[in-house]
C-alpha cells in the first residue's frame, strides 16, 4: 500500500511519467467516446431496403430507409397526406407508401426517392420530413451511361 502511494507520488512528480499518465488518460477517454459513437451509430441507424426486400420481410414498427423509384401514375393526395407506390430501381416489385407533409420540389412520377418508413398494416408510413428526392440536377453522367 505504502509502496503504491510512494509510486503514485513519484509518478506525479516526474514530468515524463506525468505526461505519460496524462496521455494514457486522454487516449482512454478518446477510445471510450469513439466506442460509444460507433456503438450508437449501429444501434440508431435505419437499414436501407429496396421495395422487394421490404415486401419480403419487414417487421412492423421498425424504421427502414426505403430507396426506390416512384411508380408512375401511383401518386394521389388527400390534404397533406400523399399516397404512392415505390418500385425497385430495376424491377417491378413495389410497396405502398403513405407520407404526410410537404413533398420536395423534384418529387414526381419515376423519380428516385429515399424515405424512412415504418410498416403499419399493409402500408409503409413515412416518417415526418424524411423524404428526399434525388435532384436530377447537375452532373448528368447517369444519362450518358
Amino acid at each position: 500500500m505504502g509502496r503504491t502511494i510512494r509510486h503514485g507520488i513519484m509518478g506525479l512528480v516526474d514530468p515524463a511519467r506525468k505526461r505519460k499518465f496524462r496521455f494514457v488518460i486522454a487516449l482512454t477517454c478518446a477510445l471510450l467516446l469513439a466506442s460509444a459513437l460507433i456503438y450508437t451509430s449501429f444501434s440508431a441507424s435505419s437499414e436501407a431496403r429496396s421495395p422487394s426486400q421490404l415486401a419480403a420481410a419487414a417487421k412492423p414498427g421498425q424504421v427502414y430507409e426505403l430507396t426506390g423509384k416512384v411508380e408512375p401514375g401511383s401518386i394521389s393526395s388527400r390534404g397533406t397526406t400523399h399516397s404512392f407506390r415505390v418500385r425497385d430501381r430495376e424491377g417491378q416489385v413495389s410497396v405502398p407508401v403513405s407520407y404526410t407533409g410537404a413533398l420536395p420540389d423534384p418529387f414526381r412520377d419515376g423519380r428516385e426517392i429515399i424515405v424512412d418508413v415504418r410498416k403499419q398494416g399493409a402500408t409503409f408510413v413515412g416518417e415526418r420530413d424524411s423524404l428526399i428526392t434525388k435532384c436530377p440536377s447537375k452532373f448528368t453522367a447517369e444519362e450518358k451511361t
Binding site: S46, G101, F107, C135, F139, A141, E143
Partner: protein, 726 residues
C-alpha cells in the same frame, strides 16, 4: 472555338506535366533556372486554362448547342445570368472551374514566394501542378467540356430550375475557391516535409492562403445553408446531407489548424500535429470533391453515377499513403521544442479546441460514411439521421463555444488563479446572469439552447472585456478618442482582434442555430382561400391565389407561376403579407402535349419569407394542379389539331391558352397545401456568419506599412526624460 478550347486543355496538361518535371529536376540537380521554369509553367497552365474557361463561358452565353454540355445544361430561354452560371452546373464545367481556380491561386502563391522558400517552393509547385494535371487528365480523357453534340439541337434542356437561384453565381465558386486554396498549404507542407525544412516558415508563408481558404469555404458553406433554407424539401438550412458534410469537414480541420499553428509559432510545439492537420485538410478537400461526383452515397445533391469515382479514389489513396509516409519518416524532426507547462494555459485550451474540432470532424465523417461502413461490417447498408448527429454535435459545440470564450483571456504557459479571476470572473457572471434572466423569462424548453445562450453571452463578454482593456490602455498612452483608439487597437493587432471577432460571430451563429432548432414551430396544412391556420402564435390566412405566365427575353415561354398571398397576423394585429409561389418549367419530353409539358417538367417553390431579428415566418405553397388536368388535356387536344400553324402563331396561341389557364386557376382556386414555419432567431445565424467573415477579413487584411508612431515617439521622449533625470 471548340478546337481552341480542346487545344487549350491538351496544352495545359502538357505544360503542367512539363512543370512537374522541371520543378523536381530543378529542386534536385537542375538548379535555379529549372525551378524558375517550373514556376512559370504554373503561370502558363493557369493562363491556358483560363482561356479554355473563357471559351466555354462564351459558348454558354451564345447558346452554342454544337457543344453537348451547353445543349444539356442551358437553353435560349434560360436568363443570361443563369446561362453564365450554367457552366459549373455541368460535371465538365465544374471540373474546369476547379482547375481554373487552382491555377489562379497557385500562380498567386508562387509569384508571392518567388524569392522566398527556395527549397520548399519547387516541391510545392510540383504538388500543385500534380493536382492540376490530375484534373486536366479527367477533362481531356473522361469529361471533355468541348465534346461536340452528335446532333445539334435547336433548343437546349436548360439549366435545372432548382439551380436558378442567385446563390448559384457565388456558392459553387466560393466552395471551389476554398477547396483549391487549401491545396496551397497542403503543397507547402509536403514541400517542407520533403526538404525537412520544418520550422514555422512554410506556415507563415501560407497563412494568408490558409485563412483565405477557410474564409471562402466558410462563405460557400453558409451560402449553401442560406440557399437550402429558402428551398422546399432541402431540410432547412442544414440537413446533415453527405455533400453538406463534405464541405464542413475540411473547414473544421482548417479551423483547428489555424489555432494550433499559433502554438508552433509561439512555442515550437505541435509540429507533427500541425503537418498532420494541414495534410488532412487537403485530403478532405479532395474527398469533398469526390463525394459530390462519385455518387457513392445517397444525397439530396446526388449528381448521378459518374465515371470519376475510381480516379478520385486512386488520388485520395495516393494522397493518404504519401502523407502518412512523409509524416512518419520525418517524425524525429517533428518533435516539439517545448512541453506543455500546465493544463491551465492557452496552449492547453487551444489543444482542447483542436481535439473538439477533430472530434466534430470525426463524428461527421463517421455519420457520412456510415452507409459504406455498415455495409462493410454487417453486409447491409444503413444510415444515421439528424438525431444521431445532434447527439454528439450539440455537446461538442457547447464545449467549442466555451473554449472560444476562454482562449482569448487565459495566459500562455501557465495561468494563475489570479489571472483567471481577473479575466474570467466578469464574463462568467454575465453568462450566468443571462441564463437566470432567460429562465425567469420562461425560456426553459431546452437545456442545450439555454446553455448555448449563456455561453454566447460569456464569449461576447470576454471579447468585450478584452477590447475595453485594450482601448483603455491605448487611450492612456495616446489620448485618442474612443472610436479612434478602437480602430487603432484592432489595426495594430489584426490577427488577434480579427480572431476575437470570429469567436463572437461563431457564438452568435450557434445561438441562432440553438434557438431555431429548439423552438421552431412547423405545420403542413391544406387551406381554401380565406381560411387560416395558427402556427407559433401567428395566424396565417390564405388571402388570394396568384397565377402568371412568364416569357424569356427572346419571347419564348419560360414558366408558369401559381402561388398565393398569405396574410400574417399576431394577436389580431397585422404583421404583413407573404407571397409564395411554385414555378412550373416545361419538360423537354417530345412525347408530351404542348400544354401538359408545362405540368410534367421540373417545378420549384419560391418561399415567402418574413425575416426578423426575433423570428422568421416562412411559407411554401404546393398548388393543387390536379383540378387543371381536364383543361390541360383539352389544351393538348386543341394544339394537336393546330400543328399546321406556323411556329410563331402556335407560340402566340399557346401563350394565350396558358394565360387563360393561369387566369382560370386564380379565378377558381382549388384548396392548396402549405408548409408554414415560425423559427426564432434564424437571422442571427446569418448575422453571426457576417461577423465571422468580417473577423476573417480583419485577420486576413495585410498590415499597413507603419508610419512613425506618435505613441512610440512620445514613449521615447518620456524614456529620454527619465534617463536624464537619473
Amino acid at each position: 472555338m471548340l478546337s481552341l478550347g480542346s487545344g487549350c486543355l491538351w496544352l495545359a496538361l502538357g505544360v503542367a506535366l512539363y512543370g512537374i518535371g522541371a520543378s523536381l529536376y530543378g529542386a534536385g540537380r537542375g538548379g535555379r533556372a529549372w525551378v524558375d521554369s517550373g514556376r512559370r509553367a504554373v503561370y502558363a497552365t493557369a493562363g491556358v486554362v483560363l482561356v479554355a474557361f473563357g471559351v466555354l463561358e462564351a459558348a454558354f452565353l451564345r447558346s452554342d448547342f454544337a457543344l453537348s454540355v451547353v445543349a444539356g445544361h442551358s437553353s435560349t430561354t434560360t436568363p443570361t445570368f443563369y446561362r453564365a452560371t450554367a457552366v459549373w452546373s455541368s460535371q465538365e464545367g465544374s471540373l474546369l472551374l476547379w482547375v481554373t481556380l487552382l491555377g489562379l491561386w497557385s500562380s498567386l502563391m508562387l509569384f508571392l514566394t518567388r524569392r522566398r522558400a527556395r527549397e520548399v517552393a519547387p516541391y510545392a509547385a510540383a504538388v500543385l501542378l500534380g493536382f492540376a494535371a490530375f484534373f486536366l487528365s479527367l477533362l481531356v480523357f473522361l469529361e471533355n467540356p468541348f465534346d461536340r453534340a452528335q446532333t445539334v439541337v435547336a433548343e437546349g434542356a436548360g439549366l435545372n430550375p432548382l439551380l436558378r437561384h442567385p446563390s448559384m453565381m457565388i456558392h459553387p465558386p466560393m466552395l471551389y475557391s476554398g477547396y483549391t486554396l487549401f491545396a496551397v498549404p497542403f503543397a507547402f507542407a509536403v514541400g517542407a516535409l520533403i526538404t525537412r525544412r520544418l520550422d514555422a516558415e512554410w506556415i507563415r508563408l501560407t497563412r494568408p492562403f490558409t485563412l483565405a481558404a477557410w474564409l471562402f469555404l466558410g462563405i460557400g458553406v453558409l451560402l449553401g445553408a442560406r440557399w437550402s433554407y429558402t428551398e422546399l424539401g432541402w431540410g432547412g438550412y442544414w440537413a446533415w446531407d453527405p455533400v453538406e458534410n463534405a464541405s464542413l469537414m475540411p473547414w473544421l480541420i482548417g479551423t483547428a489548424f489555424l489555432h494550433s499553428v499559433m502554438i508552433q509559432e509561439k512555442r515550437g510545439m505541435l509540429k507533427l500535429w500541425n503537418v498532420s492537420l494541414v495534410l488532412a485538410t487537403g485530403v478532405l478537400a479532395i474527398l469533398g470533391t469526390f463525394l459530390v461526383r462519385s455518387g457513392i452515397l445517397n444525397s439530396i445533391h446526388a449528381f448521378g453515377a459518374s465515371t470519376l469515382g475510381v480516379p478520385f479514389l486512386i488520388l485520395i489513396c495516393g494522397l493518404i499513403a504519401g502523407s502518412v509516409w512523409l509524416v512518419l519518416s520525418r517524425a524525429s524532426e517533428l518533435r516539439s521544442e517545448n512541453r506543455l507547462d500546465s493544463l491551465l494555459s492557452r496552449e492547453a485550451v487551444f489543444l482542447l479546441n483542436n481535439l473538439v474540432l477533430v472530434g466534430l470532424c470525426f463524428v461527421i465523417f463517421w455519420g457520412t460514411f456510415f452507409p459504406l461502413i455498415s455495409e462493410a461490417v454487417t453486409g447491409s447498408e444503413a444510415s444515421v439521421g439528424p438525431p444521431w448527429f445532434n447527439r454528439y454535435i450539440v455537446p461538442l459545440s457547447l464545449v467549442l463555444v466555451l473554449l472560444s470564450g476562454l482562449g482569448p483571456v487565459i495566459a500562455w504557459r501557465r495561468a494563475t488563479a489570479a489571472n483567471l479571476r481577473r479575466n474570467v470572473a466578469r464574463p462568467a457572471a454575465v453568462g450566468v446572469a443571462t441564463a437566470v434572466v432567460l429562465v425567469v423569462a420562461g425560456v426553459t424548453g431546452s437545456v442545450g439552447a439555454l446553455l448555448m445562450f449563456s455561453l454566447t453571452a460569456f464569449v461576447i463578454a470576454t471579447v468585450g472585456q478584452e477590447l475595453w482593456r485594450g482601448v483603455r490602455a491605448r487611450r492612456a498612452m495616446s489620448s485618442d478618442s474612443l472610436p479612434r483608439a478602437l480602430v487603432s487597437l484592432v489595426g495594430r493587432n489584426r490577427r488577434r482582434y480579427g480572431g476575437y471577432t470570429v469567436h463572437v460571430g461563431v457564438a452568435v451563429l450557434f445561438a441562432g442555430v440553438a434557438a431555431s432548432s429548439a423552438f421552431q414551430h412547423a405545420r403542413d396544412v391544406e387551406l381554401q382561400v380565406g381560411q387560416s391556420a395558427k402556427v407559433g402564435g401567428y395566424d396565417v390566412t390564405y388571402l388570394r391565389p396568384t397565377g402568371n405566365l412568364e416569357a424569356a427575353s427572346n419571347g419564348r415561354l419560360e414558366k408558369i407561376d401559381l402561388g398565393a398571398v398569405m396574410r400574417i397576423k399576431r394577436d389580431g394585429e397585422l404583421v404583413g403579407d407573404l407571397r409564395t409561389k411554385r414555378s412550373f418549367f416545361p419538360s423537354a419530353d417530345p412525347t408530351l402535349g404542348p400544354v401538359s409539358r408545362f405540368f410534367e417538367g421540373e417545378a420549384t417553390s419560391e418561399v415567402g419569407l418574413r425575416a426578423g431579428l426575433r423570428r422568421d415566418v416562412w411559407s411554401a405553397i404546393s398548388p393543387n394542379v390536379r383540378d387543371l388536368r381536364k383543361q390541360v388535356a383539352e389544351g393538348d387536344r386543341v394544339f394537336e389539331g393546330a400543328k399546321a400553324l406556323p411556329a410563331e402563331q402556335r407560340e402566340l396561341a399557346l401563350a394565350e391558352a396558358l394565360s387563360g389557364l393561369t387566369r382560370s386557376y386564380a379565378a377558381n382556386p382549388p384548396p392548396a397545401t402549405f408548409r408554414l414555419i415560425v423559427s426564432p432567431l434564424v437571422s442571427w445565424i446569418w448575422i453571426g456568419a457576417l461577423i465571422v467573415f468580417a473577423g476573417g477579413l480583419i485577420a486576413l487584411w495585410p498590415p499597413l506599412r507603419r508610419a512613425p508612431r506618435p505613441v512610440a515617439a512620445r514613449y521615447a521622449a518620456r524614456v529620454a526624460r527619465e534617463l536624464n533625470r537619473a
